[in-house]
Structures are given as C-alpha cells and as structure tokens.
C-alpha cells in the first residue's frame, strides 16, 4: 500500500471490544453530580412528603431537623419538599426550551435552506436578529407580553437558543453542498431532496445532539436566572431560582433555605455541562465546532 493508505489504516477505527473497566473519572463525577442534584426530586415522589406549598407559620426559618430534613423557609414551607418540586419545574422547562430551540432552529433552518434563495436569506436574517437579542431581553419581552409561567419561559428559551441550532444546520449544509461527492451526486441527476436526505441529514444528527447537550445546562441556568429575577415561572411555584430569590432576604436567619437550592443548581449545571463537553469532544476530536 502506498504511504497514504498505511497512514489511513493506522487511523481507521479498530473494532472495540467492550472493556469492563472503571468509568473514566470525569464521567463518573458528572453522573454523580447530576444524580445528587436530582435526588431530592426523586425523594419528593415518595409518599408522605409534606406539601411544598403548605405554610407552617409556627415554624418559620427552622434549621434542619427530623421533621424537616432541610429545614423550613421564611413562610414555614418545607425546603426539601420545595427543592423536590423545583426539580420537576426546572428540569422539564430546561429540556422543553432545548427541544423547542432545536425544533425551531434546525427545523426552520433546514426548511429554509431547502427552499433556498430568498426564503433562506429571510429566515437567516430573522435568526440573526434573534441572535442579537440576549436571552434575558427576550425573556423580559415574553414576561411582559405573556406574563409569568412555564410556557412564556420555555418560549423565551427556545427563541434565545434557536439561532445556535440554525447556525449548525447552515454550516453543515454549506459544507456538504460544497463537497465533491455532492457535486458528483448532482451530476448523476440526483435532485435536491435526495441529496439532502442522503448526504446532508446524516451528517447533521451528530452535531445537533451534541449542541443539545451543551444547550441544556445553559437553558437550566437561564431559567433559574429568570426565576430569580421574577421573570420566570409564577412566583409561588418553587423553581430553584425563585427559592434563592425568596430566601435571599432571610439569609442570616435561614442560610439553609438559600444554600440548598444553590447547591442543587450548581451540581446539576456542572454535571450536565461536563457531560455536554464530553459529548462534544467525542463527536469532534479533531475539527472544532463553531463556538456558540
């Protein structure tokens, strides 16, 4: 074989035998963090847990004890129960926002590029417009127009991150369409749709999934920031950001009420970010993706 082939053969993936060894430390740490962060949520599903909304005015700002493993907040509500309920608010909103962003960005982007020409130009001009507006600004607008709640927040998240997905689609599309093998396919008479299906889409899936893994923790952070500022889900509902905001006024009396959601949020974000970073590195070891 000539030199190029021997070099290529050296690079070719060797069929991997499943190796029973310990998980790499980064992966283990990431999973551990995510698990810890979600633990309260799972615990909260157990029967016999107190109502997160129930206020016990006789037990305000109590430190952790047997009845309340994480203490109570300034309205006498059980912190653990609220933490648990918050998990099922923060996480789905974050996931929803990511999925909406992917759907809007990749879906509309792909459609626009297929239709080509003016449509593509207009669509991507709109994406550029969205990209210019920071997430917080968008959330301000949705909060004012649509009020508080899960849906306005999800919409704001989706709109804020859609341009990233649209950009990934545009880059992949441009790269494929400029390649020689796509030129060859068109020379053979393959239509635009067939080319898209055969050559463009298979190369899209990987980057989209990787981007989703990176965007998810950011959505979660953004949701908590919005809730903290009062722009997120309704004020009574115990999103972690909201809990931090509420408890911040009583930090001296009940630090536990602030610490618990802070730690949970950091653990979840860090764990998911590590996982996202690992996904990106696996998908893309040599060629660096555009940074969002």
């Amino acid at each position: 074989m000539d030199g190029a082939a021997s070099a290529a053969a050296a690079r070719a993936p060797v069929p991997a035998k499943p190796v029973r060894r310990r998980l790499p430390p980064r992966l283990a740490a990431a999973l551990l963090l995510v698990g810890l962060a979600l633990l309260p949520g799972l615990v909260g599903l157990l029967p016999g847990m107190p109502d997160p909304m129930e206020q016990d005015l006789l037990a305000l700002n109590m430190p952790p004890d047997a009845a309340h493993p994480l203490g109570t907040d300034h309205l006498g509500r059980d912190v653990l129960a609220r933490l648990a309920a918050g998990t099922w608010l923060t996480l789905p909103t974050g996931i929803g926002g990511t999925l909406l962003a992917a759907g809007l960005g990749a879906g509309i982007g792909m459609l626009a590029l297929t239709l080509g020409g003016v449509v593509a130009g207009a669509a991507y001009a709109a994406f550029d417009l969205l990209r210019v507006l920071p997430g917080t600004l968008l959330a301000l607008l949705t909060a004012v127009v649509l009020g508080n709640g899960v849906w306005p927040v999800t919409l704001a998240l989706g709109l804020a991150y859609a341009p990233l997905f649209a950009e990934v689609v545009r880059t992949a599309h441009a790269r494929e369409m400029a390649s020689d093998y796509v030129a060859a396919a068109r020379v053979f008479g393959l239509g635009r749709l067939a080319v898209l299906w055969r050559h463009v889409l298979p190369n899209l899936l990987g980057p989209l999934i990787t981007l989703s893994a990176i965007v998810l923790p950011r959505c979660i952070v953004t949701e908590s920031v919005l809730s903290f500022l009062g722009l997120g889900v309704s004020p009574e509902r115990p999103s972690w950001g909201r809990m931090i905001a509420d408890a911040s006024g009583f930090v001296e009396d009940a630090p536990h009420a602030v610490l618990a959601p802070m730690l949970a949020l950091s653990a979840l974000t860090l764990g998911l970010s590590l996982l996202g970073e690992m996904a990106r590195r696996r998908a893309d070891p040599l060629r660096r993706e555009g940074r969002p």
Partner: protein, 303 residues
C-alpha cells in the same frame, strides 16, 4: 475609501436592525391588553370623555401606524414617554440609571478580558505550569456557577460570615464576580485558538527563523486569535446584560436592570419599552462595532 464603505455598510445594517427591533418591541407591547389610559382611568376616576381626550393627547387614538409614527417621532426627539408609576420622564430615569450599569459592566469586562488574555497567553507559553489547569478551572466555573449563585455565595461568605464587606451598594464584588465569569467564557476558547495558531505553518516559519517564543506569541500567534476574541467578546458583552441585572438585584445597585425589573413587575410599560430599546441598541452597537472591526481586518488581508 474602502474602509469608509465597510463602516457605512455596517452602520446601515445596524440601523436596519434597530428599526426592526423597535417595530417588534412596539408591536409586542401593544398586544398587552389595556393601555396607559385604562390604568390611569382605573386609578383616578376618568369618565369616557376624559379618557378620549387623554388618548388623543397621547396619540393613542389613531391606528397602529399612526401610533407608531407618533412614538417614533417622540423617540427621535429624545422623548421616551412618562413613567406610569412615578410620573417622571422616562428619559430622565434612564439617564440616571445608565451610567451605573455602564460603569460596572465596563469594569467587569475589562477585568475579564485582561485576566483571560493573561491566562491564555501564559498557558500557551508555559504548558507545563499550573496555568492550563487554571484556564480549565475558570472555564468550568463560568459554566457551572451562574453569576447570581456566585453573587449569593459571595454575600454569604464575605458579608455575612466574615463581615468584611457591605451588601447594598457594594461595587467591587459584583465587578469581580462578573469579571471572573467573563474571563471564564473567554479564556478557554482563546487558549484553544492560540494553540491552533501555534501549529500554523507561519508560526513554524517564525520558529525556524530562530525568534524568541514571546515575540512569536505576540507578533505571530496572537493576531491569528484576535478574530475569535472579537466574536467571543461581543457575545460576552451581550451576556453581561443578564449578569448586570442579577447583580443589581442582589446588591441593590440603581442601574438599568433594577429599573426595568421594577417596571416589569409594576406593569410600567413605557419604562420597559424604553429600557429594552436602549439595551437592544447597545447590543446592536456592540455587534456592529465587532462586525466593522472584523471586516476591516479582513479587507486588510484580501485587498
């Protein structure tokens, strides 16, 4: 001259963007049910005739286009309307709040930029030192630690536990926290870009010429990384908007963030409208600036 064309083109695009944003903001806020006059009518008893007169005076009685024209005209003469809650001209409120936000945002950005560059350049020149690890650490920090959590933590540690610093009106702490966050956003991508530039053929030539590593880093490697730095910086600056809002809320600073948050909670639409527009113009300006710089650099390379 070519440069003038580039700047002109970018300004045009920016103007178009601002116009589009203004239209969007205007339309969106008009969809909120009820208008200023309804609120005022509810607060003080205004009969139908008075409401109609007020509407006519405020230009709210015409069609959408008419209203937009009225608003745009007012805008161009610097009038941003009147606050519903406080009755003061919005322009005045914004003018008081803007310098506060601008001030500590600029300081935070400067801190973050300098820190990121120092860490990244150091890490690429001294790969076996602790610096690459520091870059990783600060990157992780900015990902995992939302600024408001860090701010909260700083309050817990420095104000409550150690009692060193006050909370309300504290300026250094938010600047440091935001600066660290920005450094975290910039350092690692910059380092990766520098590393890639180090492997570029023209850097190999510079080494073959026998040049000193620091000279190579500054004259040959860094310029290649500047475009990325520019792009990242504009993203980081835009992201500062959210950061300043949370810092103002936590530390009681009277900036734009506090202003607009209070307005949202109090349904003070003119204020919201004005601040959103000011912020959007700011972001567009930053992007346009970065765009101009990038195009100028490109044109120098391909003239």
């Amino acid at each position: 001259m070519k440069g003038a064309l580039v700047i002109g083109g970018a300004l045009l695009r920016a103007a178009g963007l601002v116009a589009a944003i203004a239209i969007v903001v205007f339309l969106l806020l008009r969809t909120v049910p009820g208008d200023v006059v309804d609120v005022m009518a509810a607060q003080g008893d205004l009969n139908a005739a008075q409401q109609a007169a007020l509407r006519a005076e405020l230009g709210l009685d015409g069609g959408l286009l008419h209203q937009f024209g009225h608003w745009a005209a007012a805008l161009s003469s610097g009038q941003l309307g009147q606050s519903l809650r406080f009755g003061r001209p919005v322009a005045e409120m914004v003018a008081t709040a803007l310098p506060v936000t601008l001030g500590f945002a600029a300081m935070a950005f400067a801190l973050g930029l300098v820190l990121a560059m120092a860490l990244a350049i150091g890490a690429v020149l001294l790969p076996r030192s602790v610096l690459p690890g520091l870059v990783e650490a600060i990157n992780l920090w900015s990902i995992a630690m939302p600024t408001f959590v860090a701010g909260m933590g700083a309050i817990l540690v420095f104000s409550l536990w150690l009692g060193w610093l006050p909370v309300i009106g504290n300026l250094p702490v938010p600047v440091v926290i935001l600066g660290l966050d920005i450094a975290g956003q910039l350092a690692k991508p910059l380092l990766e870009e520098l590393r890639e530039a180090m492997a570029a053929p023209h850097v190999r030539t510079a080494r073959a010429k026998g040049l000193h590593p620091v000279r190579i880093a500054l004259a040959h490697v860094l310029p290649a990384a500047l475009p990325v730095l520019l792009a990242l910086s504009s993203v980081a600056l835009a992201g500062l908007i959210g950061g300043t809002m949370t810092m103002e809320a936590l530390f009681g600073l009277p900036g734009l963030g506090s202003l607009v948050l209070n307005a949202v909670h109090g349904r003070d639409l003119p204020v919201v409208q004005a601040v959103v527009l000011v912020l959007a113009v700011g972001v567009v300006a930053i992007n346009a600036g970065a765009d101009v710089l990038r195009r100028l650099a490109d044109s120098r390379l391909t003239s």
